[in-house]
């Protein structure tokens, strides 16, 4: 029967840079420099995070263009990491998150070995935050074409059309909080949605309660967001919620004359100010 088929996973795509990485991870684990290595392994359809504690498992490690999830989310997980020295393969955006987590004193560089694989297939190890910043300034920023197209579409809309779009999209949200769980910056032990005295945000799923949640999530990302898109990628309903935090990044860079890499490595954009900050709406 032609109809009878089991759909197979797509063929492995992109450039694979895994060999060199496996060698480095092996050395790090063997020398005891790290006790746990956080990387990617092959998953059901896409690469997924993996945790490697012994050299026998190093062969699983991969790193290629498909490894876009932000592994920095695991660095603040005490139950996983404890006091261990950890190695991590960081994508471009994960490096930004690591910078921000360092700035916010959530992680310490002396307990962390940060690696990335450059476009030239070289494994790069970062010794200082300045090294990370320098790399981020020169390495090409991965582009998400779909997002660009949608943002253009939204910006061309009238205000009413944008409201129509967002209220319809966000009405679908069922508050599984995958966006929050996938975000390296959402490390609060008590999230605003869990506050009930007062209950700022209604905890059930409904249009306005969802809109309020997503506005809060985006606002709390001001000056902290790496613009990695992990929140949107995590959404099981495929809602483009990462565009909200992207808009915040845009507002910070446009209004406070900071580029994203500066914003994530400096003091928080909202807890600092310049007397000469510009606006055109306070009258």
């Amino acid at each position: 029967m032609e109809d009878v088929l089991i759909e197979k996973k797509p063929a492995i795509a992109g450039n694979s840079f895994s060999g060199e990485l496996q060698k480095t991870a092996n050395e790090l684990l063997q020398s005891g420099e790290v006790e746990l290595f956080i990387g990617y392994e092959e998953g059901t359809r896409f690469p997924r995070p993996c945790f490697i504690a012994s050299t026998d498992e190093v062969g699983k490690l991969i790193f290629d263009d498909r490894c876009t999830g932000n592994l920095a989310v695991y660095l603040t997980r005490k139950d996983l990491i404890g006091d261990k020295k950890v190695g991590i393969t960081a994508s471009y955006f994960a490096l930004r998150s690591i910078l921000r987590l360092l700035t916010e004193h959530q992680i310490q560089l002396d307990k962390l070995v940060v690696l990335t694989v450059s476009a030239e297939k070289e494994v790069i190890r970062f010794a200082t935050t300045d090294d990370i910043t320098a790399y981020l300034q020169t390495a090409p920023i991965p582009v998400r074409e779909d997002d660009k197209a949608l943002i253009e579409k939204l910006n061309a809309m009238s205000r009413e059309e944008r409201w129509e779009f967002w209220s319809a999209e966000l009405s679908k949200c069922f508050k599984c909080y995958a966006c929050r769980a996938a975000c390296p910056m959402c490390y609060c032990t008590k999230c605003i949605v869990e506050e009930n005295r007062p209950q700022w945000i209604q905890p059930w799923a409904s249009t306005l309660a969802n809109i309020e949640w997503h506005i809060n999530r985006a606002m709390h990302m001001t000056g902290r967001c790496a613009d990695c898109g992990a929140c949107g990628a995590a959404c099981p309903l495929g809602l483009p919620i990462h565009l909200l935090s992207h808009q915040i990044v845009q507002e910070v860079t446009d209004n406070f004359a900071l580029d994203v890499n500066q914003a994530v490595s400096g003091d928080n954009a909202l807890s600092t100010f310049k007397p000469e900050d510009k606006e055109n709406f306070i009258k």
Binding site: M1, V4, K8, T44, R45, V73, F174, K175, A178, E194
Partner: protein, 332 residues
């Protein structure tokens, strides 16, 4: 059980008649890049060639936010008004796969375990389930490993199997028969199609008996920690699951009046078991992952004689970090 044949055109005509008779028809429709259940105004909105909708059909009977009752305090007196069960609409869910229909069995068992949940039962009474047997599957599907199958009729009132030039219709219950009567002419005599010939062949991924036996002694096993390391603790798996029934009770209060609501919750959240004292009996994600699997494959079979999994694979498709449940069960 009665067998008939129905053409695609006949099917669409029949469904449109159902819509015209004021029934709420829910079916798979395109939602952006995904296919999910939605209320349809016309049968030609319905998508037929999807493998699986993002969400299950459980919200027909267990919506994500549901009103239990309303209250108002006036001059020292409190007035309560229960949800009006008679106002629930007559509903037809069309195009769900056998795994989804099978999910109403464990869901019903939970909602009738000791207390008979009137809201769930009233909604189910008004709901007719028309399944579409599966001619396709993907690498996440594993219904055959949990005693289901691509042509399983448990929970269906009518099952349609796509055959040459149309559908083989199996009218399985009285509810189904009543629905057929809305436009009997759309149904033709059975052509003798052999259902099995059209169904997808889905090999078993694990032996459920062995898995369940192993789980009996697995409480202290190190596998929970190993498997759950990458789990980030969101509720996506529970919310898309056809059998997950955990809920939270919330209050939508405005001064002296308000509503009490029931809304979805998930055992994957740290908050789920957090006590007011600050103590959390399930402190780590490993414990929460263990709870999820044991609840579905050990506690529910023990207490309710049903399994909390129908092999739809949605949790694995929805998971941001690929916690593939079939793979994890196999590795136990």
């Amino acid at each position: 059980m009665k067998k008939c044949f129905i053409s695609l055109a006949g099917l669409q005509r029949w469904l449109n008649v159902l819509i015209d008779t004021q029934k709420h028809l829910y079916a798979p429709v395109n939602k952006g890049a995904k296919v999910d259940f939605g209320r349809v105004a016309s049968a030609d909105e319905i998508v037929f060639d999807h493998i699986q909708t993002t969400q299950s059909a459980k919200s027909v009977a267990f919506p994500r936010t549901d009103v239990l009752f309303s209250y108002e305090k006036e001059k020292g007196k409190v007035q309560l008004e229960n949800a009006d069960l008679t106002a629930y609409p007559e509903t037809v869910v069309f195009g769900l796969h056998p795994c989804d229909a099978a999910g109403f069995n464990p869901l019903g068992a939970i909602f009738n375990w000791d207390y008979k949940d009137e809201l769930y039962n009233a909604r189910m009474e008004r709901t007719v389930v028309i399944t579409l047997a599966c001619t396709k599957a993907d690498e996440y599907c594993f219904c055959t490993s949990v005693n289901g199958g691509p042509g399983n009729t448990v929970g269906s009132d009518i099952q349609l199997t796509p055959v040459k030039d149309g559908f083989l219709a199996e009218i399985l219950t009285e509810k189904g028969e009543a629905l057929v009567k809305a436009d009997e002419a759309a149904f033709e005599a059975d052509r003798g199609d052999v259902k099995e010939k059209y169904l997808v062949k889905l090999p078993e991924k694990f032996d459920i008996k062995t898995v369940q036996e192993k789980l009996q002694t697995a409480f202290e096993s190190p596998i929970w920690k190993a498997q759950s390391q990458r789990c980030i603790g969101c509720g996506a798996c529970a919310y898309v699951c056809p059998t997950c029934a955990c809920f939270d009770i919330q209050e939508d209060a405005h001064g002296t009046k308000g509503k009490r609501l029931r809304c979805w919750d998930s055992c994957g959240f740290a908050l789920f078991t957090l006590h007011t004292s600050g103590h959390n009996p399930r402190q780590t994600q490993a414990q929460r992952w263990r709870q999820r699997l044991l609840h579905k494959f050990s506690y529910m079979p023990d207490r309710l004689s049903v399994r909390g999994c129908t092999g739809c694979g949605r949790c694995s498709r929805a998971c941001p970090v690929d916690m593939n449940i079939a793979e994890h069960l196999r590795s136990i």
